[in-house]
Amino acid sequence: MNNSAIRNWLGFSTLALMLASLFMVFDYVPPEADQGIAQLIFYFHVPLAWVAFASFGLVAIAGIFYLWLGDQLWDDLGYAAAETGMVFCTLMIVAGSIWAKPIWGTWWTWDSRLTMTFILWLMYGGYLMLRASADDTPAVARFGAVIGIVAALDVPLVIASVRLWRTIHPAVLVTKQGGHGLEDPRMVATLLMSLAAFTALWAWLLLLRFAQLRARSRMSRLASGVALAAAAASDTN
């Protein structure tokens, strides 16, 4: 399996999908009646959300496999997923904020989805700070795995509690309609294209970062192997 070939293919696909998605958003789909052109952010915001949460799930799954199998590959995957996911989570919050300003007149509101995403962002931040505050030893990889698992298990509870919090004290501003109550089939098509484009972008960035971390792990293994060999050689002298 040629990793760089897959990455290149993914890169070009991402480019194509992104261009198609941009065309559809700006030229094809009609903006929604009452929100006007600002509503188009929806087609970036939703895919960013899906990717941010999926990446976090991947951190947890990689963590489980790392604790179970002990192979450094899983830790590299989890770390790459955390870094990539953080980028998309930040973008989602920024996009949400940019959307909120013209629609609701405020840069931020504690609506259930924005709150949930912000908590997710904090969890990502905690994970990355943990990894940054210690060297990349197997112990720290285990810490990362445990944090990833524990935080991911917590996510359903955060969603439930934040939703309950918002329904008992409804926000002054009406939240954007829950679903994807998309009447026009062109909207559905655009959303799907956008989802595909951002998923491809995420996968491409994830694999790039993963490859870097794998190379780094291999390097440190080689380096310690060389050091051991040198020590053994000097011992026998």
Partner: protein, 223 residues
């Protein structure tokens, strides 16, 4: 004596002899409440929402201070190696540490509740009794989470700073539920009316005690 009882007894005995952790927790709870009285302007107004919020802030900060010190005694003298070499199962060690953290947090909570009633112009009546199960559920959840996380943060450079950064976002469900239920209890609502919040807290407790029990062995080790 079982391993669990031995470790728990040791922690309680250490604390009873010096009393420094409990004193620090009580002092911190009081000081946090004082800051919040000034910050929220609660001196003249009788507000259950402000009181409940302030109580939980004090509990979370005191709980984090307590958790940072949970494995301190073991780390300081390399005693953790002895514990790990003993037949004691790491999961049992977790349970004992959790029980100790819970007891210390409960003591601090009693103090915090008394201070809250005094500072926020409330009454010592039945609403305080209704508060008790909510605070117990919160303490269990927080202790479970913090004991697991402090085993991690104690071994990294970030250390004490890193524990709140990791713990607070994860604690959010229990925090929201706890504050809302506490405010309702102080306002006179019966426990049945806050069923949803209590369910969230119970789910949180079950999840994190289980997760801690299963995962503790992966994170506890000598440095």
């Amino acid at each position: 004596m079982s391993g669990f009882a031995a470790v728990l007894r040791k922690d309680l005995r250490l604390e009873l002899r010096s009393g420094e952790s409990t004193l620090a927790l009580l002092a911190l709870s009081m000081l946090v409440l004082v800051v919040l009285v000034f910050a929220l302007g609660a001196a003249r107004v009788r507000s259950v929402d402000a009181a409940a919020g302030a109580l939980w802030v004090a509990m979370v900060f005191a709980g984090m201070l307590g958790a940072n010190r949970a494995l301190l005694a073991e780390r300081d003298n390399g005693a953790i190696r002895g514990l790990l070499l003993s037949p004691l199962d790491p999961a049992t060690l977790y349970a004992a540490k959790l029980a100790a953290a819970l007891i210390f947090m409960a003591v601090a909570e009693v103090g915090a509740v008394v201070l809250m009633v005094l500072f926020f112009n409330l009454e010592f009546d039945a609403s305080i009794a209704r508060l008790a199960p909510i605070l117990v559920l919160g303490a269990i959840g927080f202790s479970a989470l913090a004991t697991l996380l402090s085993a991690i943060t104690g071994r990294t450079r970030g250390g004490d700073m890193l524990l709140p950064i990791l713990a607070v976002p994860i604690f959010v469900p229990a925090l929201i539920a706890g504050v809302k239920a506490s405010a309702a209890a102080l306002a006179g609502a019966p426990l049945e009316s806050m069923g949803d919040w209590l369910k969230i807290m119970i789910a949180f407790d079950v999840l994190f005690v289980t997760a801690g029990y299963l995962l503790f062995e992966h994170v506890v080790d000598e440095d």
